[in-house]
């Protein structure tokens, strides 16, 4: 991408006015996307983006500039712009010696997607479309999307860090619309991993099409969801986003250090039911939120955030670690070279418990069973969070019965975590997610066993 000598000259330029720390982040990214909608492959898109972001820290201030032009002149110009934050400094030119970092990769890409013909990629879409439409005449619309990306990054900084990573991701999604007497309903299925074309040995696109269609068809019979507080059972692999919102964001050190998290000053304290052990790790083989190095060149972490209900640590990036004298945790991520890194989750999951998941349902006299969630949002200051249910059922007398219409659930993170009263002995990771924070999106994963929240979650439905 760029050689060591050029990186040295760029960092020297960045710090010549007295900047205390500087970093260059180079990114070269290619995407291929194909979209089928309305029965036709509408488009095949190729995308390319390449550039560098340069960051300089001086006192409490971070200067940042980026450029799409990787020529020496342009990089030096960006370095000077970012370095201008150090106005009163007496810097002088320093040369950094880089120590290349190595770390185990969470995956081995068997077949690079770029080595596969576009016609093969497009053919998958038609198979998913036909499978979805074959589920019944009530399926009136189907959309299917294929995406692969290859993101190569280089991070070098004045601490001597020199790290490169090659991140390949593959994604496939299907959505279906069913039309019935009560209007239209939707179904959605997505899979994504940090692997190459071998992805399609692992997933069955036709089954995904059928699943999306059947989800929409089942919802044609859906009743309005209840309104108010209800016991909730969440199926394995569908509710990790609840933890992402209920406490994940609140454990990001940037929010904590500004007092904008309900979990500030809680390390060492009981913040969840003793059943809950929460991990954030980018080392999980093949998972959507994994990588070898984070976007600050730090090796992927495997961090226990909550152990048996006790808060053990927050998640950290370079800036917060440097300021508070804490070790980095490999959670410094950014959407692209045009963005500054900040503390972000990777793959966040709750470890399995000991109870038979069927018994959890049987043991719930009345409540709601959530089979699929659709994202969420949190106010980290209060801990109040919402997450959407896109496939849910009533539980009546310990049995899963009627499908429910879509809606959000709301709860307070610290309370809901304490209220979890049973964890299943099953476990699954959920659908690939994109987490948004301060306008930046990064790929994240989540997972959990089947679990129950008997009190503290309110469903935003319209039924009494």
């Amino acid at each position: 991408m760029i050689d060591e000598a050029l990186a040295q000259r760029v960092l020297a330029e960045a710090t010549k006015l007295g900047g205390e720390w500087a970093e260059i982040f180079v990114e070269d990214r290619r995407n291929t996307n194909a979209l089928l909608d309305d029965g036709r492959v509408e488009e095949m898109t190729s995308g390319r983006s390449r550039g560098a972001g340069i960051r300089v820290v001086f006192g409490e201030t971070t200067g940042f500039a980026h450029t799409a032009d990787l020529s020496e002149a342009s990089l030096l110009q960006a370095a000077a712009a970012a370095g201008a934050v150090a106005r009163q400094g007496g810097g002088g030119v320093k040369t950094v010696a880089f120590a290349p970092r190595t770390a185990p990769a969470p995956n081995a890409v068997a077949v690079l997607p770029e080595s596969i013909g576009k016609a093969e990629k497009v053919a998958l879409l038609q198979r998913a479309n036909e499978a979805a439409r074959s589920q019944g005449n009530a399926i009136v619309q189907v959309s299917a999307g294929y995406g692969d990306s290859r993101r190569r990054i280089l991070v070098a900084n004045t601490d001597g860090v020199w790290a490169t990573d090659d991140q390949v991701r593959s994604l496939f999604r299907v959505s279906a619309v069913a039309n019935g007497d009560t209007g239209m309903q939707t179904g959605y299925e997505a899979n994504g991993f940090m692997i190459g074309w071998e992805f399609f040995d692992r997933i069955d696109v036709e089954e995904m099409g059928r699943n999306a269609a059947n989800q929409a068809l089942r919802k044609l019979m859906a009743r309005p969801a209840p309104s108010g507080e209800v016991p909730v059972v969440i199926k394995q692999g569908s509710g990790g986003v609840m933890f992402h919102e209920a406490c994940g964001h609140g454990l990001e050190a940037d929010l904590v250090s500004k007092g904008a998290s309900v979990f500030k000053d809680r390390v060492g304290q009981q913040v969840a039911s003793p059943l809950v052990t929460l991990i954030d790790t980018a080392t999980m083989a093949d998972e959507w939120g994994s990588f070898t190095f984070d976007d600050e060149g730090h090796p992927a972490g495997n961090n226990t955030l909550i152990q048996d209900g006790v808060l053990t640590d927050y998640m950290w990036d370079h800036l917060r670690s440097r300021k508070l004298g804490h070790a980095q945790s490999g959670n410094g991520r950014r959407q692209s070279y045009q963005h500054l890194p900040m503390v972000r989750m990777t793959n966040t999951f709750v470890k399995a418990g000991a109870t038979d998941p069927d018994a959890i349902v049987r043991d719930t006299a009345h409540g709601v069973y959530i089979a699929k969630l659709s994202g969420g949002q949190v106010n980290t200051a209060t801990g109040d969070f919402v997450f959407g249910m896109s496939e849910a059922y009533l539980i009546e007398n310990g049995e899963i019965t009627h499908p429910l219409r879509d809606g959000n659930l709301i709860g307070n993170g610290p309370q809901v975590l304490m209220n979890i009263d049973v964890l299943g002995n099953d476990f699954a990771m959920g659908s690939p997610g994109m987490c948004g924070k301060d306008g930046q999106g990064v790929p994240v994963g989540d997972g959990q066993p089947t679990l129950r929240v008997p009190v503290g979650l309110s469903i935003g439905g319209t039924a009494a």
């Binding site: 194909a34 309305d38 509408e42 488009e43 095949m44 898109t45 190729s46 995308g47 390319r48 983006s49 390449r50 006192g59 201030t61 971070t62 200067g63 940042f64 500039a65 799409a68 960006a78 712009a81 934050v85 576009k118 497009v122 009136v140 619309q141 619309v177 309903q185 939707t186 969801a225 309104s227 108010g228 500004k258 007092g259 904008a260 309900v262 045009q338 500054l340 659709s374 994202g375 969420g376 949002q377 949190v378 106010n379 980290t380 200051a381 209060t382 969070f385 919402v386 959407g388 896109s390 879509d406 809606g407 959000n408 709301i410 307070n412 309110s458 469903i459 935003g460 439905g461 319209t462």
Partner: protein, 446 residues
């Protein structure tokens, strides 16, 4: 002629026989200053540019984009777009926009005052906003961030069908998130102001509104579940109408994903609701004289006194529906033209916001919503979002509530609008909105 328009035209002019080429080129520079505890926390200054190329041949479409305008990258992007054509399927309605005789209005969206604004002043604005915010109310204990950001952008579209247009604009924005604390719970809020000219930014308004939104939430509790009338603030109403605008896009209509697809001419909303999308109005921060396909933008009346009057179209959805484009192609350089509203405005009602509270009598003012992406389904119309706000009792604002949801369907909510405030304001997203009240909404709390 602008450099990027010349580049777009050079690309489009490479169309061979039987081939159509469209190029969209954009460039921009932005600055962001973030202040925290009296210091500059972050100072970003950067430029970016990109090109998106669409090729159509034999009814098939290919597309490619790149975040660079280097000659070799542009050539590779055009080659990729041409290559991609063969993998898409034939669609008789595929095609670029054609000149339609509508001339773009002249819009003054570019202010030299921003281009020439001293960078040091940007830093001072962010620092001053933090100071102002901290000085208003002792319950405000800190500020998560106070920021100034601006952008200067230029875009151009050229097609081998004879369209060529470019435009440029300036935009600046201040925002602040105060943290208030009553010893038990921390509350966070936000305030902002927006302008095309940095000298017109009102820091006092941003600080005042931010503090008001934040301290009003102190002591908020979970309300009891019930049905009631909901008042949406202008910002929340804009989110709501933004979703409605999306459901009136030609793309979801032609593909049968809109519950309003077969409702043209019907009363789909309360007669108090009139919704217009007019990107030719320079007061809108979404204003633009041309759309994403190079056609002139125009004033489109979507809902007129409750009656569905028009969908919005790009040239593809217009051809499929045997009508003409409404100049509503929206896109960035990295995507093909979609359909959308750019400057959606609700017509003002007959009463002030204070009068609207009295008209409602008992209800809830919703000042922020969460989970719009997870709990609102624009295909089925199901609507369920988390809310924070203030109870309205006897026509006056009373205690604050949090950890609640409101739910209905989008179709019912439109019909149940029972008042619109006359206090319409332009918002950063490009929309003009005002507080509205909606009857019979389910509030879920304790």
């Amino acid at each position: 002629m602008s450099e990027i328009l010349a580049l777009a035209q050079r690309i489009a002019s490479q169309a061979g026989p039987g081939e159509q080429i469209e190029a969209m080129v954009s460039t921009g520079r932005r600055t962001t200053v973030r202040a925290y505890q009296g210091e500059v926390e972050e100072l970003t200054s950067a430029g970016s540019s990109g090109v998106g190329i669409r090729v159509i041949r034999d009814g098939r479409q290919g597309f490619a984009y790149a975040g660079s305008l280097d000659a070799d990258v542009v050539a590779e992007t055009l080659a990729d777009a041409r290559d991609n054509v063969q993998f898409a399927e034939f669609d008789e309605y595929n095609g670029l926009a054609e000149p339609d005789g509508v001339h773009p209005v002249e819009l003054d969206l570019y202010h030299d005052a921003l281009v020439n604004f001293d960078p040091q002043r940007k830093v001072e604005l962010a620092l001053e906003l933090e100071r102002l915010t901290l000085a208003i109310d002792p319950r405000v204990k800190g500020v998560r961030v106070a920021s100034f950001s601006d952008s200067v952008g230029e875009g151009a579209v050229a097609t081998s069908t004879g369209l060529a247009a470019s435009g440029r604009g300036t935009f600046c924005y201040v925002s602040v998130s105060p943290l208030a604390d009553d010893g038990e719970k921390t509350q966070i809020g936000y305030g902002f102001d927006v302008s095309r000219d940095p000298n017109l930014l009102d820091l006092h308004k941003a600080a005042r509104e931010a503090v008001e939104r934040t301290v009003r939430m102190i002591g908020a509790t979970k309300p009891a579940s019930r049905k009631l009338t909901v008042v949406l603030t202008a910002e929340v109403a804009a989110d709501f109408f933004g979703i409605i605008g999306g459901m009136l896009g030609g793309d979801v209509v032609v593909k049968g994903r809109s519950p309003f697809a077969d409702r043209m001419g019907d009363l789909i909303a309360s007669p108090l609701v009139s919704l217009v999308d007019d990107p030719t109005n320079p007061a809108s921060f979404g204003a633009d004289s041309v759309d994403g396909e190079g056609l002139a933008t125009r004033r489109n009346v979507l809902i007129d006194n409750g009656r569905l009057q028009s969908f919005v179209h790009n040239s593809y959805t217009a051809r499929r529906m045997k009508t003409v484009s409404t100049g509503s192609a929206v896109r960035g350089y990295s995507s093909t033209p979609s359909v959308g509203c750019m400057a959606l405005a609700i017509a003002p009602g007959m009463m002030t916001t204070a009068e609207l509270y009295r008209h409602v009598g008992d209800g809830i003012l919703v000042q922020s919503v969460s989970g719009l992406h997870s709990g609102v389904n624009p295909v089925s119309g199901d609507f369920s979002v988390g809310v924070e706000g203030v109870i309205i009792r006897g026509g006056e604002l009373a205690e604050a509530v949090r950890e609640a949801t409101i739910a209905s369907t989008l179709q019912r909510m439109l019909l149940d609008v029972d008042a619109v405030s006359s206090e319409v304001e332009w918002l950063p997203g490009g929309d003009a909105s005002a507080p509205i009240s909606i009857r019979d909404i389910s509030l879920s709390g304790a």
